[in-house]
C-alpha cells in the first residue's frame, strides 16, 4: 500500500485519536480571492469533483471546488439514526414526472462535501467491458467514445485509494481487490446459502470499506448505518479519500457555496468563472477553466440555467442534448421471511453480490441484464417496503413486528438510455430564485422485462435459502447520464475527456457524462472518469 500513500495521503492525514476530522487542515486551507483567476473552479465536491480536485492540486494547479452544502464533520454532524440523517440528502425542490416518475432525495441525491458517496451503500463494482459497446453488441443504448481498457488503469488506482475489499471478481474483466472480503452478517449468509443451492455464483464484495486499518482510518464496526454517513471513517467517501490530500496540496474547498450560473464571454466563447451565492451574498469566482460535477440532475439544471445570448437554450445545448438520456437502474427489492432471526440491520448493507445475470443472454427476449446484491433496510425504509404491499394501520404494525426475520435482496437492472428521459426547467423557483429541475422518466418494454426477470431470480434465491414467503417493492437506484459523452456534438454534450463540445474550457466530470450504466453501482466509474479527465488535463493535452 506504500505507493498509495505516495500518490494520495488522505487516509494518513486524518486524525488517529478517535476523532474523525483533521480540523487543522481545514483551518489552514488555502483560500483564493474571487478576483484571482484560478486555474480551475469545480462545481460540486462529490465523487467526480473531489477526485478532479485532488489530482489537479497534486499537479500544481490553483484549484477550488465549490459545494452547495456543508463541509461535514462526521463526529458532530452525523448521527447513527435514519430519520436524523435527512440533511445528507439534496432536498431542495424538484418535480418528477413521466409515466414512471423517479423519487429523488435520500434515494439518489447527496448534498455537501463528499456528495452522494457520503450516504451510498459502499458497493464499488467496475463496469464490464461490454458496457462500453452496447449499441454495437446489442443494438441498444450507446457506444462510449472510449473503451473499458482506457478506463481500467483508473479503476485500479481508485480501488487502492478507497480501498476496496472483496473476493476475486470473476465477472466482466476478472480482477482482484486490494483487501480481503469482510465477514458477512445474516443477510449475506442467506444470499450465499440460496446461491449455493441454485448453483448461482455470488461473491462477497466489492465494498469500499476498509477491512483492517487503512492509514488512520479504523476497521469497520459492522453497525449497519452505511447509508446514514459513516461516523467510523471506515466506508470510503471523497470527504476522507480525496479531500484531505487535496487540501494538503493547496486546493480550496468552499462549502455552502451554491453555484447559480456559469459565465461565458460572448466574444471569445470561453468560460470565465462561476456566479455563486454564499451567506446570502452573490459572488463571482474567476477561473481559467470550469468543471461541472453536480451529478445528473443539478449539472444539466446548471447548464440550462446558464443560458445567454450565445446559448439561448442553455449552455452547451446547441443540439438539444443537455438533460437527455438520464438513466436510473430499476431496483426491485425482494425480501424473504425466515423463522430464524436474520437481523439484517447488523453488518453493512453491502455484503454479497452476483453479476451472473449482467450480460445479454441470447436465450432471453430482453437485452442486457441485472446484478443482485444484499440490501438491508433499516426500519423506516423497511416500513416503506411493507407499506408497498398495501398494509396500513394495525396490519402494518403487525408485519413490522416481524422485522428481525426478514432478509432482503436488491437488483440493479440496466434500464436503457432514452432521449425523452430528461431534465428540463420547471416553472417553480427555488430559494435562490432559480427554476428547479423537472425530471421526466418513463420505462420501455425491455426495462419492464428486466425488472420481472430480476424479481423472479431473487424470489428463487430466497426460497432456495428457506424463505417461506417473499414480498417485493419496485424501486429505482442511482442516476447517471444527462450530459453524456459522445463522439460528436450532435449526440452528446462532452467528448471522451469530459470537455464540452461547445465551450473549449468547460468540462463535465461527474456521473452525467456516462452514456450507459450497466448493472453496476456507478460511484467507482464516476471517480474513474474524473481521474481520467484529470490525467488528461494535467498532461496538458487540451
Amino acid at each position: 500500500m506504500d505507493n498509495v500513500r505516495a500518490r494520495n495521503e488522505s487516509a494518513w492525514l486524518l486524525p488517529n485519536d478517535g476523532s474523525r476530522t483533521n480540523h487543522r487542515l481545514r483551518r489552514d486551507m488555502r483560500r483564493f480571492a474571487d478576483s484571482d483567476e484560478i486555474d480551475l473552479v469545480i462545481v460540486g465536491c462529490g465523487a467526480g469533483g473531489s477526485v478532479l480536485l485532488q489530482r489537479l492540486a497534486r499537479a500544481g494547479w490553483r484549484v477550488a471546488a465549490l459545494d452547495a452544502g456543508p463541509f461535514w464533520d462526521p463526529d458532530t454532524d452525523w448521527v447513527s439514526d435514519e430519520a436524523g440523517s435527512h440533511q445528507l440528502y439534496w432536498t431542495d425542490p424538484r418535480v418528477i414526472a413521466g409515466s414512471d416518475p423517479v423519487p429523488m432525495g435520500s434515494n439518489n441525491s447527496g448534498r455537501g462535501v463528499g456528495g452522494s458517496m457520503v450516504h451510498y451503500a459502499g458497493y464499488t463494482p467496475r463496469f464490464h467491458p461490454s458496457d462500453f459497446v452496447t449499441y454495437t453488441a446489442d443494438g441498444v443504448g450507446a457506444d462510449w467514445p472510449l473503451s473499458y481498457l482506457e478506463l481500467r488503469p483508473y479503476y485500479e488506482q481508485l480501488e487502492q485509494e478507497l480501498p476496496v475489499a472483496g473476493e476475486r471478481w470473476p465477472w466482466g474483466d476478472p480482477h482482484r481487490y486490494p483487501y480481503r472480503p469482510h465477514p458477512v452478517g445474516g443477510n449475506g449468509e442467506i444470499f450465499l446459502r440460496g446461491a449455493d443451492k441454485l448453483g448461482i455464483t455470488a461473491k462477497v464484495g466489492p465494498v469500499a470499506i476498509a477491512n483492517g486499518r487503512f492509514g488512520n482510518r479504523p476497521h469497520c464496526i459492522y453497525r449497519g448505518f452505511c447509508l446514514q454517513g459513516c461516523k467510523v471513517n471506515a466506508k470510503a467517501s471523497p470527504l476522507i479519500t480525496h479531500v484531505p490530500d487535496a487540501l494538503a496540496r493547496g486546493a480550496e474547498v468552499r462549502a455552502d457555496a451554491m453555484v447559480t450560473k456559469i459565465a461565458v464571454d460572448e466574444r471569445t466563447g470561453r468560460a470565465t468563472g462561476v456566479h455563486y451565492v454564499t451567506d446570502g451574498v452573490e459572488r463571482f469566482q474567476r477561473a481559467r477553466m470550469v468543471a461541472v460535477a453536480g451529478y445528473s440532475i443539478e449539472t444539466p439544471r446548471l447548464l440550462l440555467n446558464s443560458a445567454s445570448r450565445r446559448f439561448p437554450d442553455g449552455l452547451a445545448n446547441d443540439f438539444d442534448q443537455v438533460g437527455r438520456y438520464l438513466m436510473v437502474q430499476g431496483a426491485p427489492q425482494t425480501a424473504g421471511r425466515f423463522d430464524a432471526e436474520v437481523r439484517m440491520y447488523k453488518a453493512p448493507p453491502p455484503e454479497v453480490s452476483s453479476e451472473a445475470f449482467y450480460e445479454t443472454d441470447p436465450a432471453k427476449d430482453y437485452k442486457r441484464g441485472f446484478s443482485i446484491q444484499t440490501v438491508s433496510p433499516l426500519p423506516i425504509t423497511w416500513a416503506e417496503h411493507v407499506a408497498a404491499q398495501g398494509h396500513w394501520g394495525s396490519a402494518l404494525r403487525e408485519y413490522m413486528s416481524d422485522y428481525v426475520h426478514w432478509s432482503c435482496l436488491g437488483a440493479l437492472c440496466e434500464f436503457l438510455a432514452q432521449p425523452d428521459n430528461r431534465v428540463t426547467l420547471a416553472d417553480e423557483k427555488d430559494s435562490y430564485g432559480l427554476p428547479v429541475a423537472r425530471f421526466s422518466y418513463s420505462q420501455c418494454d425491455n426495462d419492464r422485462a428486466l425488472a420481472r426477470a430480476a424479481q423472479s431470480v431473487m424470489e428463487d434465491l430466497l426460497r432456495a435459502a428457506g424463505a417461506d414467503e417473499v414480498i417485493t417493492i419496485q424501486r429505482y437506484a442511482h442516476l447517471v447520464g444527462g450530459a453524456r459523452m459522445a463522439a460528436d456534438q450532435e449526440h452528446g454534450v462532452v467528448d471522451r475527456y469530459g470537455r464540452s463540445f461547445a465551450v473549449p474550457n468547460l468540462y463535465i466530470t461527474d456521473g452525467s457524462v456516462l452514456p450507459t450504466q450497466g448493472s453496476a453501482n456507478p460511484a467507482l466509474t464516476i471517480m474513474a472518469v474524473a481521474a481520467r479527465a484529470a490525467h488528461h488535463l494535467a498532461a496538458g493535452d487540451s
Binding site: T91, P101, P103, V184, R223, E398
Partner: protein, 205 residues
C-alpha cells in the same frame, strides 16, 4: 393478532442510550421528550391529521403513543420535504392541507361530521377508499400519489421513534459500539429474541 406488540418482552432500545454517541443520543431523546406545540396545521387540520395519522400507524386505540401528528407537523413547519414532488401534486405542505380538507369533505358527505368526529369504522372505510382508488383520481388528485404522501410521512415518523423500535426488536443507534455477533440467529447480549419466532403474519394471513 399473531405478531404485534410484546414479541420482545422487556426489550427497550433506550436502555442502551449510554452506549450511543452524544449527538445521536440527543437526536433520539428529543423524540421521546414532550412534543412541541403544533405550528403548521390549523386547529381543524390538526384534528383531521391526528385521526388520519393515528389510523395509518395503528394507534387509534392509543396503545403506543408515538406523537406522529406532532412529528409530521414539525417536518412540514420546517419545510423538511423528501426533496421531490410529483408533477401532478402540489408541494407537500399544500398537498397536506388540501388532502385533509378533502377527507373532511368526504366525512361531511358520509355522516355530516368532520373526519375526526366520524365513527372509527367510517374513518377506516374512507381511508381504505383512497387506497383502493390506486391511480384513479380522488378530488382531482391521483389517489396513489396522495397515498404515497400520507404513508411516507406517517412511516418516517413512526419508525423514527424508540417505542416503535422496541416493538420490532430493533436496537437503534449502534455507534460507537457496533455489533460483535453478526449472522443468522446471533444476538448481542442486549438484544432480546423474538418470543413468537414462527408468528409470521404473511404465512398466517
Amino acid at each position: 393478532m399473531s405478531g404485534g406488540p410484546d414479541r420482545f418482552p422487556g426489550f427497550d432500545a433506550l436502555s442502551q442510550v449510554r452506549h450511543w454517541d452524544p449527538v445521536t443520543a440527543d437526536a433520539v431523546l428529543a423524540r421521546v421528550a414532550p412534543p412541541a406545540a403544533v405550528k403548521f396545521f390549523t386547529d381543524s387540520q390538526e384534528a383531521c391529521a391526528r385521526a388520519l395519522l393515528n389510523l395509518l400507524t395503528g394507534q387509534e386505540d392509543g396503545d403506543l403513543a408515538v406523537p406522529v401528528l406532532e412529528m409530521v407537523d414539525a417536518r412540514l413547519a420546517a419545510g423538511e420535504t423528501d426533496g421531490w414532488r410529483y408533477a401532478d401534486m402540489p408541494e407537500d405542505g399544500q398537498a397536506w392541507r388540501d388532502t385533509l380538507a378533502h377527507l373532511d369533505a368526504d366525512a361531511y358527505t358520509r355522516g355530516g361530521t368532520p373526519f375526526a368526529d366520524a365513527a372509527r369504522a367510517d374513518q377506516q372505510a374512507m381511508v381504505q377508499a383512497v387506497q383502493d382508488l390506486k391511480s384513479r383520481e380522488w378530488h382531482g388528485l391521483p389517489a396513489g400519489h396522495v397515498w404515497s404522501l400520507w404513508t411516507r410521512y406517517a412511516c418516517t415518523a413512526m419508525y423514527a421513534h424508540p417505542a416503535a423500535w422496541a416493538e420490532i426488536g430493533f436496537a437503534g443507534p449502534a455507534y460507537p459500539r457496533g455489533y460483535k455477533n453478526i449472522g443468522v440467529g446471533k444476538l448481542e447480549p442486549f438484544e432480546v429474541p423474538d418470543a413468537r419466532p414462527s408468528g409470521d403474519p404473511v404465512r398466517d394471513g
